[in-house]
Subunit: 317 residues, 2 copies
């Protein structure tokens, strides 16, 4: 643990990953018009950055089979940045054609997870990324990097921070403009956040990290606190806390955008997002999914939402 | 917000409040033998401090109607400290007779909440506490103070930190050995934690605060992070996250003991509690309640619990 934190940011960029990470494990496809409606509700709340979908095999991820249609449905919204995940050149071609603003190249820091996730070695993923970078040269489409299992692997256990650093270096050399550290199965902890952030600042000082936490073990926002103390000013979250890990039934997925923005608001850190409208978007997400979602602040309301307390019981401490 | 945090503690005392705060809103009475079994499971995990019950009107809080029987059932367990809440002299007499180690005198920092909770003015509560203190003199029973709505009131909104400080001063003058700040309806935020802790250190330097957070709005452990950075080394939590606010349906109650201990373990802060055994106690709590409880780490398991990942899907970022 650090002896003392560095500095809290005054502004934080929140990227909404609900349409991608939040939905990707759903067994079926939510209608594209419903997804687009959710994106519009989020834009109305002030959200400007979306990780919208993935250009992967529709057979592997049926929930994102409408990737091109969804980009098409929302790309006319002004002042919005649309990203999509792509694992290889083929995905990048599809993303380019669909009209995204940026592609997110993703690879796992752990070999076993990468093999199970995209069926190839880490080196093969990195080689494919070089092809993508060449293909996108001059296209105006930004390249971003995402490192899955950056805080631990469900198969291998601990992940060496140097493995994360080597991939980050590769992304920087490719000209990536952003780097996201994915807490794929909720294994991040405050000391690991410090360790990763400090190491990356040493080895890729040009590429300040974005933190992407899952609340699988309940400490997602504690990890955000650690990131904030380290001065990290970019986080990814999912509306309603949509998402979750199919091999940990009942476990939460991404940290909930509402709870993140509530925390940042209360800490006096600006996001440009209106919490009440974001809670409305979360209610829409709940209706679309037809089940309660993990976000907490949506249930209780913001802290000064008074007047619904007539049933307060007596003689409690 | 503080410009820089003070110092992380190396040890933290966790007080288990599940049998009291976790159960008090239940409509019925869990059998005393089940409560005692849960306490024994917690003791087996290394928990040593319990806020076990409240000596209040059994009509007002039927779930704690067995206060004396429960104390009697568990007070033979060695090396365990048993506290009980008492609102007034009558409650203190019952607690004394039952054989607790300490009584927790509780009052709200907000007048409206105190009136609704214990049907009297704050001054009346404080006057009653003076009677209790006189009655317990020489009994060997420790007096502790608890301030409800210390971070905000569901009726009045913001609570002036000086109101918290005045009550804290009163408790110190009575000879209280502990002071707990209750986040009754989950209104605490990191800046308010800093504000309360710093003010109390000024006005009652002899009485270092215990923090009691609810996860109603999802930021319970973010508040713990803030407390840790301020050097606060005493927290109250509830096994499974048992509890909750009857006027915010679906909202979580206390922070879950499992998630708290997981966070502290991962930060290298000692508690004397074994996480795996605590998760077992949480499973017992779930069985006794007959419903899923909010604790997260119990569902996913500790972070290096590998090998249950055969169903990991492919092509996810």
């Amino acid at each position: 643990m650090p002896a003392a934190p560095e500095a809290l940011p005054t502004h934080v960029q929140v990227t909404e990953v609900g349409p991608r990470d939040g939905l990707q494990n759903e067994p079926g496809l939510l209608p594209t018009s419903d997804k687009a409606g959710l994106v519009r509700a989020l834009v109305a709340a002030g959200v400007r950055r979306f990780e919208l979908t993935s250009f992967v095999s529709p057979r592997a991820v049926p929930a994102l089979a409408d990737a091109a249609e969804l980009v098409s449905a929302v790309r006319g919204i002004p002042d919005v940045h649309l990203s999509a995940l792509v694992p290889n050149l083929r995905g990048a071609e599809r993303a380019l054609e669909a009209g995204v603003d940026s592609v997110v190249l993703f690879v796992s820091a752990s070999a076993t997870h990468n093999a199970k996730n995209v069926n190839c070695r880490i080196e093969d993923s990195l080689a494919a990324f070089a092809q993508v970078a060449r293909r996108l040269e001059g296209s105006g489409i930004e390249i971003r990097g995402a490192i899955a299992t950056a805080f631990g692997c469900p198969f291998e256990g601990e992940v060496d921070v140097r493995a994360v650093g080597r991939i980050a270096r590769h992304f920087a050399d490719l000209g990536a403009t952003r780097l996201s550290l994915g807490d794929t199965t909720g294994m991040a902890t405050p000391p690991l956040v410090t360790d990763r952030v400090r190491h990356l600042r040493e080895v890729v000082p040009s590429l300040s990290p974005t933190l992407h936490f899952h609340n699988t073990r309940g400490i997602g926002l504690a990890n955000v606190m650690q990131g904030l103390w380290l001065g990290v000013d970019r986080y990814e979250s999912s509306i309603g806390g949509l998402g979750g890990c199919p091999f940990a039934p009942g476990a939460s997925g991404n940290i909930a955008s509402e709870d993140l923005v509530y925390l940042l608001d209360e800490m006096g850190i600006e996001t440009g997002i209106d919490l009440e409208s974001l809670i409305e978007a979360g209610r829409l997400a709940t209706r679309l999914m037809g089940r309660p979602l993990p976000a907490q602040v949506s249930r209780a309301g913001p802290r000064l939402a008074l007047g619904d307390c007539s049933a307060v019981p007596t003689a409690r401490g």
